[in-house]
Amino acid sequence: MNLFVEIFSNMFAAAALAVLVSMALALFRAFIGPTVFDRILAVNTTGTLTVVLIAVYGFLDGRPEFLDIALLYALINFIGTVAVTKYVKFESQGFSGKAPSDGDL
């Protein structure tokens, strides 16, 4: 049983390491990304990886309650991405449609 626990905690550590490495790669793309879409994708990926990292860290640290916080981060990440794509499409955050309430976030 003890060995089982140890192996699994090591697996979480390995997962955390993998997430950190892919985070670095996504961040690199966000730095150099020539087009807007590279950057949006890279930032969104970084956000998702942060969510995963928080979840994995919660299990690694023996506090699975961190899952709730990871959920909140996922929500914020989504709202941010919607706002960014809206900016790219309409160059504005509201009143972009013909009707006054068309473009509200």
Partner: protein
């Protein structure tokens, strides 16, 4: 180790934030920076601060910055002159701040003043002195009651301000700003449609 990696990511993002001249990329990167900061706070057990950082730093301020970008230009004017005085000032300020941290208690130190001063009193006596089983509730509502009252007043004022700016009845809209925010293409399209309608009318009448 995760904390160190996150700090490295933050440093790298901050460096590129300064280097980049494309303001859209800068806004995106500042969102990423805030996200890393929030994750770092979480790893260091400050969950409430991490919540605030993620909601305000990564969420709302990115949206606000993008709205601002929509009204201004997309790139920053570049100037390559190296100014020595500000750089020196920044280094001195940073050095003083780092020097200040030497006096702080170590991270997680049980003998730190914050764990010795009134915390023990709250933990031992709050149930008898105030009542609620939740210590945080009795601290916020009783021991720091006036502080909480002031905070509530600040939040209330901010909410009134936001409502005064943004609040509007659905369907009525704000006529002037609606025209200002309309896209150029939409206006042109509308004009075209109007022209077409007028010419159609002419054809039918003739």
């Amino acid at each position: 180790m995760i904390a160190i990696a996150l700090l490295l990511f933050m440093a790298a993002s901050a460096f590129w934030l300064v280097r980049l001249r494309n303001l859209f990329a800068v806004v995106m990167l500042s969102g990423v920076y805030s996200l890393f900061a929030a994750a770092l706070y979480l790893v260091m057990d400050a969950v409430d601060v991490a919540f605030t950082e993620a909601a305000v730093g990564a969420g709302i301020s990115t949206v606000l910055m993008l709205s601002t970008l929509a009204l201004t230009s997309r790139t920053e004017k570049s100037h390559n002159k190296l100014s020595v005085m500000p750089l020196l000032l920044v280094f001195i300020t940073g050095g003083v701040l780092v020097y200040g941290t030497f006096d702080m208690p170590r991270y997680g130190d049980i003998n730190a003043p914050i764990h010795q001063h009134v915390a023990n009193h709250y933990i031992e006596k709050s149930a008898a002195e105030v009542g609620p089983p939740n210590i945080v509730t009795s601290i916020l509502a009783s021991y720091r009651g006036f502080d909480t009252l002031g905070e509530t007043a600040v939040v209330f004022t901010a909410a009134i301000g936001v409502l005064a700016i943004l609040g509007r009845v659905k369907g009525q809209g704000m006529s002037t700003s609606r025209v200002a925010y309309r896209r150029k293409e939409d206006v042109e399209e509308e004009n075209k449609e109007d022209d077409k309608a007028v010419s159609d009318k002419k054809e039918t009448t003739s």
